[in-house]
């Protein structure tokens, strides 16, 4: 029996994902091993004797050659154990606490940006060069040129310091939905605004292009459908497939931006954790977090590809006779 094209796609993408993830762990290890190895010194304090440092290095396995250390880490990681932090905590435990916070933040940012982008792009595409289109163009130009950090700082100054609607620092997103919105909205908006700009431009261009060029749009209009229905039921439907791919491709940028935004707003996610770990030269924690970041990015890309394959009938059935 011939395998479906979607299934083949899954296989290929999964293979690629595994290779990327492995590459990331190796690269992190190489970078970490080029930094001065003062883990033992840090742990023991400045007054420790060289003998004590050497003993601890031996106990931690840090005097082993690079490949041995990498191999040991990799085997452990494959068994689901990412090692121990300098403070003696398991990295897994550390991630279990901080990762959900980051994931919530990312999801919130994505939902805000996609939902707003869809609404604004549809309004803009209804009348190209109309008022809504011009306003959306200006707003998204700002979003395209500003980084999440700049947006974050402006949002803090306006909405936290001046207006006082939201706290300057988040201190955790937990504790009920209301608290989640209060704590999470500014960080999510900072992350989401540049994305919103990208998605809006993309969707708007795709919608206008279809409305002006595609014959199936004329067919839909010839049925007597209203322009809004044609735009939403026919054009937007097809644009969403493109959007899903772009969301997946942007996930890497989003994750790294999240690290900065978490620090800015003191959101206790893995991003803030990573910066602390880097400050402490906590290599096990750094490796664990970088690995998780890579995992989110790769999984996001994979999910976008698969979702696209599952949703778009042209791929699902392997379009041949067109």
């Amino acid at each position: 029996m011939a395998r479906s094209p979607a299934l083949r796609l899954v296989g290929r993408r999964l293979g690629a994902a595994v290779i990327v993830l492995w590459g990331v762990t190796l690269l992190t290890f190489i970078v970490m091993s080029t930094l001065p190895n003062d883990t033992a010194q840090t742990m023991l304090g400045l007054h420790a004797t060289p003998a004590q440092v050497a003993a601890l290095n031996k106990a931690l396995g840090l005097n082993q050659p690079f490949w041995v250390r990498y191999w040991r880490w990799l085997v452990q990681a494959l068994h689901g154990n990412l090692g121990t932090t300098l403070e003696g905590q398991s990295v897994n435990h550390e991630l279990a606490i901080h990762l959900p916070v980051t994931l919530e933040l990312l999801a919130y940012a994505l939902v805000i940006s996609v939902a707003l982008a869809v609404v604004v792009a549809v309004l803009a595409a209804r009348r190209p060069n109309g008022i809504a289109d011009r306003i959306s163009l200006s707003v998204s130009m700002i979003g395209l040129s500003a980084s999440p950090l700049v947006v974050g700082i402006i949002l803090v100054i306006v909405f936290a310091v001046q207006v006082g609607w939201f706290p300057v620092q988040s201190n955790g997103l937990g504790g009920g939905l209301g608290s989640f919105f209060v704590q999470g909205t500014l960080p999510a908006a900072s992350l989401g605004f540049p994305l919103f700009a990208i998605y809006t431009r993309l969707l708007r261009a795709d919608l206008v292009e279809q409305m002006q060029r595609e014959d199936y749009i004329v067919t839909a209009r010839a049925k007597g459908l209203s322009p809004w229905r044609v735009l939403i039921r026919h054009a937007l439907r097809n644009s969403m497939f493109t959007l899903i791919t772009v969301i997946g491709l942007n996930l890497g940028t989003l994750v790294s931006a999240a690290a900065i935004i978490e620090v800015l707003f003191s959101v206790p996610g893995v991003g803030s954790d990573l910066l602390t770990a880097i400050g402490n030269h906590d290599s096990a924690l750094i490796e664990g977090i970088v690995f998780v970041f890579a995992l989110i990015t790769v999984a996001g890309n994979l999910a976008a590809d698969l979702l696209y394959a599952v949703l778009d009938p042209r791929i699902r059935h392997g379009s041949t006779n067109s």
Binding site: Q212, E214, D215, Y216, V218, T219, A220, R221, A222, K223, G224, L225, S226, P227, R233, H234, R237, N238, F241, D312, P313, R314, H317, S319, T320, N321, S322
Partner: protein
């Protein structure tokens, strides 16, 4: 017209504002369609056939400036506000397009696309619309309609897709169906099947059919009345029997050239037709005289000075030429430069 016309088009003009230029795509077209009649609109590529019928349907882009009149059962369509026009589109008049590969939404099940057309003009439930869509698939002789309902356009052949497009057009049993080169993109065998289907359905549903084509052969076989277009104008018009009868009476050299260009059955689908020699005129700068003069062997000075009007020279037969061919054998055609 003797009988009350279903569609009465009078002096229809369409211009496009494009880059500072004004492209005159349709320049004063008048014709009428009686209920149940088959009218063929023939002309070489770019002669304004598609633009004319899209102007009637109100489907032109906003860059189009439409003037003149098109009355559907007495209702003036030109200049009608979009929400009112929408009530007629798909309900009383519908259209079938040239390229079935592009005229269906690729990501929507074909059944849904038909059901949507049903629900646009009638207050029926989703289930009723679905049942009706399946009925419409049956009407256009789609095999296994229940199964086809859930399929996507790319799963169908070109001919099957065109049947779906026809089913959409017929969803509200319109009184006027405009088929714009509905068979051009199909292979020869399928062309004949789709043409037969359209004529059967026309009979069954008592529709008027406006059949747009660059193929005079189609007009000769199926139409009752023939309108020939060139550079946005009607240049010849007559009942098909009169034009192609035993004593063929085509009077325009342009029409004769189209007749010579009738594709033979061996021609592969999608290959461009052998067209009339010479290039169509620049629609942004139409000459004061006859637009065909530069391509016409019989052209004289008067042709370049003043454009001949379309006039009824013989009862039922109109043409616009200062020096028409003699009535008689249509194939006698030595005077067209090639």
């Amino acid at each position: 017209m003797s009988e009350e016309a279903l569609l009465e088009v009078t002096d229809l003009r369409v211009a496009f504002a494009a880059g500072g230029q004004e492209i005159s795509a349709v320049n004063g077209v008048s014709f009428s369609v009686r209920p149940g009649e088959t009218l063929a609109v023939i002309g070489e590529s770019g002669s304004g056939k598609t633009v004319s019928c899209r102007a009637i349907m109100g489907l032109l882009p906003s860059t189009a400036i439409v003037k003149g009149s098109a009355r559907l059962r007495g209702t003036e369509l030109i200049g009608l506000p979009e929400p009112e026009l929408r009530r007629h589109r798909g309900a009383q008049m519908a259209m079938v397009f040239q390229d079935p590969a592009r005229s269906l939404n690729p990501t929507m099940r074909i059944g849904q696309q038909i059901a949507e057309a049903v629900r646009t003009h009638r207050d029926v439930s989703k289930a009723e619309a679905r049942a009706e869509a399946i009925e419409l698939l049956r009407l256009v002789r789609m095999p296994l309609p229940e199964r086809r309902f859930g399929e996507y356009p790319h799963q169908l052949s070109g001919g099957m897709r065109q049947r779906v497009v026809i089913a959409i057009a017929l969803a509200c049993k319109p009184k006027l169906l405009i088929a714009d080169e509905a068979t051009t993109a199909l292979d020869v065998t399928t062309q004949a099947q789709i043409m037969e289907l359209l004529l059967d359905l026309q009979d069954e549903l008592d529709m008027a059919l406006v059949m747009i084509s660059h193929d005079l052969g189609l007009a000769a076989s199926y139409a009752s009345e023939v309108v020939v277009m060139y550079a946005g104008k009607i240049v010849e018009q007559a009942p098909a029997g009169q034009l192609f009868g035993a004593r063929g009476a085509v009077r325009m050299r342009y029409t004769r050239a189209l007749l010579d260009a009738i594709p033979d059955m061996e021609r592969a689908a999608h290959t461009p037709l052998p067209v009339v020699a010479g290039r169509p005129p620049d629609l942004a700068a139409l000459p004061p005289g006859c637009a065909f003069a530069d391509r016409c062997a019989a052209a004289e000075d008067d042709c370049r000075e003043t454009a001949p009007d379309l006039a009824e020279h013989v009862p039922g037969h109109r043409w616009a030429c200062w020096h028409p061919c003699a009535a008689g054998d249509n194939s006698e055609n030595g005077d067209i430069p090639s």
